[in-house]
């Protein structure tokens, strides 16, 4: 099997792919990026926490017009994963308003983004309908 690397460092691959956040030890605020401090309380200590892999679509858009090289249409969404908001595309679903809806139940899924010159696969993530 080809070597794999996650598209972003907050995606953990393996048998049970999931996302991890930096959680502020002071106030519990969660962030997916590298932090200098907590934007909520200013403290500088964080712990890594796993994020629920299932959630509910709180907002979406179907992007039909994008930069050259970005395949369209695609569904961009904000998903509520057990109280933590996550940005991600909705995948494995037809990108139209008949198949995508607010409040829809989804789960994390991974997909191959591409393979580099050394044969390493980059793995991205999205959310797919549950039981759809």
């Amino acid at each position: 099997m080809a070597e794999q690397i996650p598209l972003v460092d907050y995606l953990v691959l393996g048998d049970e792919p999931h996302l991890v956040a930096n959680q502020c030890t002071g106030c519990g605020a969660r962030f997916f990026d590298r932090r200098n401090a907590c934007a909520s309380c200013g403290k500088t200590e964080f712990t890594k926490v796993g994020i629920d892999t299932t959630g509910e679509v709180r907002a979406f858009t179907i992007v039909s017009f994008a930069a050259p090289g970005v395949p369209v249409p695609y569904v961009a969404a904000m998903v509520d994963c057990g109280g933590t908001s996550v940005r991600g595309n909705l995948i494995n679903v037809a990108p139209d308003p008949e198949h995508v809806s607010l409040g829809m139940k989804v789960r994390l899924a991974t997909e191959v983004i591409g393979t580099d010159e050394q044969g390493t696969e980059a793995i991205g993530f999205g959310f797919e309908p549950v039981g759809g």
């Binding site: 605020a29 709180r58 907002a59 179907i62 994008a66 933590t84 595309n89 308003p97 390493t120 980059a122």
Partner: protein, 400 residues
């Protein structure tokens, strides 16, 4: 008038649209000269200049305009604050006059955007030949389009959809009807970049950019400038009766940023900072939303206008859909919103927008809005949002 009140003495906006033969300095100069003439003053009277431009923010547009209109040596603050840039320039003049550092200040905003496409997410970086994590997410490849969207029509689409998820009642057609209203309003505005009426069918059938926002539901990229002269109440008392009569009171001038909320770094939260700005502004002005005769709010996309009915407290919390469906926000309704045509048709030359909306309100309060005059208007509110985020709210009152 109280000595520490703030007043708009003169204000002007250029026609918005395509100005291929005028550069930024030409457009800004036209707006500034117009505002100075409107106020009966000159560059020599200005004690401070707030100069707004986004796309050429490093160019020092304030000094460039001084070099054409008058190098008086006064401080220039060149500001850039996304789509709130114009409002921020105005805030600079207001703060300087309010503090007593100047008794008159100039603010202007200018942008050239004709022909610009997507302003964010318009290009994707080349992928490197080997995956190498970089940036704050340790990304090995560009993430726009792979992890959500960076394009503004898509971001603001989600903002409208989130409101729908929370309170219900939204649909593609509802958002398109908001756009239909603003395009209808624009037919009365000779300064609008686009002033064609559009039917609901035309709007819904146009090119889809980011569902549910079709092209006419997006703010129009165009060229334009606007400028305002701010004066203290104390100074205004020394000016002519005619100047005093046409002056418009700045009853509130507020700028906020977004306080941290759980999801605000996932999908920008344009709600909390707008509500915070509105609360502060109503308190400063000593009025409530029901006292407003007209509102110019930041309809950068049709999906955005809906949420700001609620954020500016023009309706009950959660009641924006019913409020719009009641017809309240049409120009003949109880709370006319974007009678200029809004950003969807008047246009959105970013740096100019946060002063042009103040011009629109001031022009109605002066009774000089021609065919689109809201009759008897005494109080109005102008609102902008710059994503990232910044929110400017100004409340204006007709001179007593």
């Amino acid at each position: 008038m109280a000595s520490d009140d703030l007043w708009i003495l003169g204000i002007h906006m250029t026609k918005f649209g395509k100005h291929p033969d005028e550069d930024l300095v030409d457009l800004a100069s036209e707006a500034v000269q117009g505002a100075l003439a409107d106020g009966g003053v000159t560059m020599a009277d200005m004690g401070v200049i707030g100069a707004g431009n986004l796309m050429m923010a490093q160019a020092g547009i304030g000094q460039q305009v001084q070099k054409q209109l008058g190098q008086t040596g006064v401080p220039v603050y060149n500001v850039s604050n996304a789509c709130a840039t114009g409002a921020t320039a105005l805030r600079v003049a207001c703060m300087a006059v309010k503090s007593g550092e100047a008794d008159m200040g100039l603010a202007f905003g200018v942008e050239k955007l004709s022909g610009a496409g997507l302003l964010a997410g318009g290009s994707r970086k080349e992928e490197s030949p080997t995956w190498t994590p970089s940036g704050r997410y340790g990304a090995v490849a560009p993430i726009d389009g792979r992890i959500g969207t960076e394009i503004m029509p898509g971001v603001f689409a989600q903002i409208g959809m989130e409101y729908g998820h929370r309170y219900g009642g939204t649909s593609f057609e509802l958002f398109a009807r908001i756009s239909e209203k603003n395009h209808s309003h624009s037919t009365l505005n000779p300064k609008a970049a686009y002033s064609k009426k559009m039917s609901l069918e035309q709007i819904m059938g146009d090119i889809m950019i980011a569902y549910p926002n079709t092209r006419p539901m997006c703010s129009a990229n165009c060229d334009g400038a606007a400028a305002a002269v701010v004066v203290s109440g104390a100074k205004l008392k020394t000016l002519s009766l005619e100047q005093q009569k046409r002056a418009v009171k700045i009853a509130a001038s507020v700028l906020t940023t977004d306080p941290w909320e759980e999801s605000c770094q996932i999908l920008p939260d344009v709600n909390t900072l707008t509500r915070n700005a509105a609360i502060q502004a109503y308190e400063q002005a000593g009025i409530g939303p029901s006292d407003l005769d007209l509102v110019e709010l930041h309809d950068c996309f049709a999906t955005a206008e809906l949420v700001h009915y609620d954020n500016l407290m023009l309706c009950e919390t959660g009641g924006a859909v019913d409020f719009f469906n009641s017809g309240a926000t049409w120009r003949d309704g109880s709370m006319p919103v974007n009678v200029s045509g809004g950003l969807e048709s008047k246009g959105h030359p970013i740096g100019a927008t946060g002063i042009a909306n103040v011009w629109e309100v001031a022009t109605h309060l002066r009774g000089e809005a021609g065919d689109r005059q809201i009759v008897g208007a005494k109080v109005g509110l102008a609102h902008v949002i710059g994503l990232g985020s910044a929110c400017g709210v100004h409340i204006l009152e007709k001179a007593a």
